[in-house]
Subunit: 367 residues, 2 copies
């Protein structure tokens, strides 16, 4: 396995010192920033995440801030999800589409107030698209990347750990809501959210200087909870059906293909740039869609690209993420399948780098 | 040193098979694509590059294609360089700026015809900015990323190797010009350009399927020239003053701060989006600028962030790239310095992770 060459271009985070001290073994790069991928091993990290509590440096979920009288108008231009009913204090998962309905990102929109939003982005320079749109339409809005770095606390003991640092009130934060909490005199947004199915929070750490003090406070408070540094876990996120932009979907795909049609209110999302194209898609329905697939046999190798899915010798889709699941004793995977072969129970063949395997389309993801 | 976790999101290239077979030891990620950084060692690769010829997988220099009646108008909106005199067959190095004059990229613009351009980009999703601008201004132009992956041939024996594969006519291509050459029935643009000072070419490989055939043809033809797989070399590019977007400059910087004022014709670049801001900068001049600095002492450690530059105890700049130069027997580096301390011969102090070192501002880069 190759090493990673570090440079300023692969940005460090406010928590990098803590991540290194915790013995990070591997990184990926996400939004031109370092994202840890392994501490002990993917399997050990998985077991620990499901049993205890982890602190994740997800600074790479950069924020695009919209501020000004036309911030809400601009936010609605970006997405087919109808945002009219959204209140300050809410977080919405929003597909972002271009004029053809192709997905540019799948972030969480955080509504701070009527004229101030954060978009907590997946892996694409969404800032540049939003700046270009704001400039081209001459909108009265400021668009930039603030000094905000999310820190996630995930796992079954997350409520206990967070209440020790932020007080018991943090337990009352509901799913995909946020509230403001004090840490060393700073007011931080804390949301009940995160890229796992084990429960937990994301702290929007505003101001790099308090990154390590907060990191240290969490580890100090969580010693007896067996808190560890962690990171989004490949196995757990596939089991949970958490999609990864750039892996499971790209700008080639519509939200409907990605199973995100439920987040599209295309008729009423007036102003959305991709609305015309998506009205057509909503009418006709997608011809391919993301599905969970169980792949037979021994653990599959790491999936570094796309694996063709065949049926009757013809290509009917591709696998984009795959891993052996210790809990479900099968290879869990995410694939894009043609409508002729996407029904649960359908048997297909997957071409892995270590040979062709039988796979079965699942009714739903594992967790 | 940490490993890199591969996934579809860190895109492989048409040449990845060749790069792996050649024993790549480390990667960086550039435009969400794998870019090799080390084969033997940075020092060995450096010596070989200056002596023989290397083939570089620089697919990560993705192209943004502009096509249509308003392609040239859009291209001029992106840059303060006056493009009116540019002819098809020419390549121009163009700073790309936002409405405040901040640099979004420093690509090479390739003019294929009056209504078709490629922008060969540095490390930022420029595609999203250009798509946003084209959409916002409702321009009559198609903007996308074509299946084009540059392959560079660099080093003193580059002309000899290239002439064996493409014929002697390739020797006549002049600096920053390109012409079309046949390879196995395909017409490929070949430019005399590249991210080294050792001379050579960049082949714009259109169609991933001919990537490995071309790779193999170059290695077959170059056996007696000691051809090797290589990559942009940290030491050589600092010696040569080749800037790296994201390392030596960011969207915080104007072209003038980066010493790229000579590529700005701000008065006559009518239509450039950042023109108003840059007219102000051109009038007043920058207050900080990029300079070569020689850092005293033993080889410095790898530069993974920014190193503060001090004078009289006050911060006067930062080093952004640094390496020990075997040829010049000093630490070569690139820094951004306040105008009070940017004159050649000025002595400053650099805070490296291994202590403070004396450094001297140089008149010019080393090669």
């Amino acid at each position: 396995m190759a090493q990673i060459s570090l440079s300023r271009r692969l940005r460090r985070t406010p928590f990098s010192e803590g991540v290194e001290a915790a013995g990070v073994k591997a990184y990926t790069v996400y939004n031109r920033m370092l994202l840890p991928t392994v501490f002990e091993s993917v399997e050990d990290d998985y077991r620990h995440l499901k049993t205890h509590v982890q602190v994740w440096d997800v600074s790479c979920e950069r924020q695009v801030e919209l501020r000004g009288p036309e911030a809400t108008r601009l936010m609605q231009m970006l997405t087919p999800r109808d945002l009219r009913g959204m209140l300050p204090g809410q977080c919405f998962y929003v597909p972002i589409v271009d004029e053809t309905g192709g997905m540019l990102n799948d972030p969480v929109a955080v509504k701070l107030s009527e004229d101030r939003w954060w978009i907590s982005i997946a892996d694409s320079d969404l800032l540049l698209w939003v700046k270009g749109i704001a400039n081209g339409y001459r909108l009265d809005v400021l668009v930039d990347e603030p000094d905000v770095s999310p820190l996630a606390v995930q796992g079954p003991k997350a409520d206990e750990l967070m209440s020790r640092v932020f007080g018991d009130r943090v337990r009352d934060v509901r799913f995909f809501k946020f509230d403001m909490f004090d840490f060393q005199g700073r007011d931080l947004a804390v949301a009940r959210s995160g890229y796992s199915k084990q429960g937990g929070f994301e702290i929007y750490v505003e101001g790099s200087d308090i990154g390590m003090p907060l990191w240290n406070a969490l580890f100090e408070a969580g010693k007896d909870l067996n808190v560890r540094a962690g990171c989004p876990n490949l196995i757990e996120r596939i089991e949970g059906g958490l999609l990864s932009y750039g892996n499971d979907m790209t700008d080639d795909n519509t939200p409907h293909e990605c199973g995100l049609g439920k987040f599209c209110n295309t008729h009423t999302a007036i102003g959305c740039i991709g609305r015309d194209a998506l009205l057509r898609v909503a009418k006709e329905g997608p011809v391919q869609q993301i599905r969970p697939l169980a792949i037979d046999g021994d653990p599959v190798p790491a999936c570094h690209g796309t694996w063709p899915i065949l049926a009757g010798g013809k290509r009917v889709g591709q696998v984009t993420s795959a891993a052996w699941s210790p809990d479900f004793k099968t290879n869990v995977s995410i694939g894009m399948l043609r409508l002729s072969h996407w029904d649960a129970g359908t048997e297909v063949m997957v071409e892995t780098p270590q040979g062709t395997r039988r796979a079965v389309v699942q009714e739903k993801f594992w967790i």
